[in-house]
Symmetry: D2
Subunit: 227 residues, 4 copies
């Protein structure tokens, strides 16, 4: 369970940098975008323009690149946070239509796992699982029986988002003040994208790296507090 | 607890019908919208135009009216569904920053309440509550201790949405196939709006009433299945 | 100019149907989505599930597929309509930063081209072009000189949207009541997608084909008016 | 024409500060939001909390306040920019359904008005207007005849947006690099809101005031360039 959450990159643009480059140039050029697309162009030149455009805050140009992830082993506490991002698309395992009977799975926060309360935590989870199965067997519908399922219960999702939203997600959820589980999840998502597109590394960072300061009420010290 | 969820309308437009009327006329008139706004106009005439525009599917005109609700006594299972509506705005009670210690509150689905499992349900809730308090007392942060809190745990939110999204919400969540709790919640939201604007009654209905047929895989019989 | 607008498909998902299938199954299955993805599955079975899910109105599952287009030779009248679609992403040629000097291009609506006013139309366009160049030469910035440029002036864009929005776009803009130019543009976009994914043909249609009736105030007779 | 664009505030929340305050407190309190709403609270205390929450970047709390504007005397060049803001709602005068015959109105950019090209500009506008009327009289539909109408042609809209989007709009469009007309328009929108809610003055400012630096490629000197 220590490799939770499980994150895989299902889909990515065939030409990430080139797509963004063509979008950027289309704004400032008399050329047809298909001509810009077809003309050969070396990567260094493309990267140069894209970085310049991004540093001036013109971020709509990276919306043209979408990434699709398969996510599992993530708690419902975490998915309740994740689905608050309204520019993302989600297809999530339903607790109404999929019974947890026989396959109840849950996460254990490290601070509980490493405490002397871990055994009691596991016992409670088993108690919950048993009563859930009892209710299902007694004919209570899954959508009602799930009332007792804890936040720790895992879920699965297919998630997609464009690069602009991924950059935004990173800024908020890689912050030390974000909860550990979603921080880990978003870190894995970013790492998978960076493995494909190493030049994105400097853009998939917590917000303090972009702003140059921390605007949280209590900072972690990575950057100075906002004056 | 039988009056759960608790729903109050905090804010509504001062002139709902007039606002929509002016938006509709602006599209089809050479007059300045401020002139249309200032000219007196009887309600019947306004209603007539608005109904005609709405029946032709031109729904962006009702986005100019926003409603704000205070919601409490609603389960986290239900709020996880609610926040999937990406055109709404939410400010929700945090389980990270607000401890449930001393004020753990939960819903009981009627099918459990009316079964012979209700006592066992209540005992489990008490067990969960006790272990939660034990963890908090032992120094486990609320954001980790909440891992054991059940879907039944209640939450509070301030929610706002425009009339177009309220119509969409009604269409999806007043459907018999929606879960009872969110159906009850959305019914209360709609009833509060209809109490202020009775002419909206015909628009705050399940999707089958708008389409004339049911497109669900299993219908409830209210309308015939899609051919 | 008769082949205006010029539309090219720059990017599409590597596995459109499979991505949607995995999204659909994730909602109703205890399996991890990566397992569903990796398991081989024949196309017929995938298509079967996806069609069933789509016919029940569960359209969020097709948001995971994004298409990117390069568009040129489209009038600013048309792009003003196009950018009203708020779920799409746009990178459009700027009339502030790109001068039309020496490359002014415009569309001619067929009803003008085929009338005896066509010559006068062309003369006016030339007059406009000449005065535009005169202003630029006199030092008027392009962002001000463009005040005289007509709606007929062409523009270029990189546009991206997901399949759900493409279906929505088709429903509204393939309707006979949509203006000819945007209808032609959207038809070309849909045809390019259908060439790649022929099974989408039945979903990229005007709204009357989906609803079974016409809800426009004045219909074209393709489907009966709404009762 | 010097008072163009014409902007009026049609609708605003009855209790802007209180609504935001209740939204903020709901996140961090065990109290029901309706209780927070009903409890009296002095304005100073409310303002204090709201400012603290806003300065930490938690901006979703101001989405609960919507403002509705009537706008006229604004060029189609400007409205093409305005409708690119995808979190706003628009009802705009249609050039397809409303003929400009007899009421063609246009803006003149100050740099043209104050140049020796102003007379030629006015003559061209008259020529365009005359040919437009000739086409309409000859039976060319308005949707086609408008092909010759210039960017300078004025339009009218009803526009609504929430406070979060108004803050975002101000940050982008009050920047010296935004075009004069949209800068003037957005300034008028902000001033109308500030007249009602003076405490918002510090939030309705160009982005450099929020960031503390300028991230544009060419800055105006108001703030130092980003390092």
């Amino acid at each position: 369970m220590t490799n939770f959450p499980i994150v895989n990159l299902l889909s990515k643009p065939e030409h990430t940098l080139k797509t963004i480059y063509v979008a950027c140039r289309t704004c400032y050029s008399a050329l047809y975008p298909i001509k810009i697309w077809e003309d050969s162009c070396d990567e260094g030149k493309m990267l140069n323009l894209v970085k310049k455009v991004l540093s001036s805050g013109h971020h709509s140009t990276v919306e043209h690149c979408q990434f699709v992830f398969a996510i599992s082993g993530v708690s419902r506490a975490c998915t309740h946070q994740l689905v608050r991002h309204r520019h993302m698309s989600f297809s999530q395992k339903s607790q109404r239509y999929v019974t947890e009977k026989g396959n109840f799975e849950y996460i254990t926060p490290p601070k509980i796992e490493n405490s002397n309360l871990n055994e009691e935590y596991k016992e409670l989870m088993e108690k919950i699982s048993n009563f859930y199965e009892k209710m299902i067997t007694a004919g209570i519908p899954a959508e009602d029986a799930r009332a007792i399922l804890p936040n720790a219960t895992t879920s699965s999702l297919v998630v997609s988002l464009n690069l602009r939203e991924l950059m935004h997600l990173a800024q908020l959820r890689l912050c030390t003040n974000a909860q550990l589980e979603i921080r880990t999840l978003v870190k894995k998502m970013c790492d998978l994208v960076i493995a494909e597109e190493p030049w994105l590394k400097e853009y998939l960072v917590p917000k303090c790296e972009i702003k140059g300061y921390c605007d949280e009420i209590r900072g972690c010290g990575r950057k100075p507090q906002k004056a």
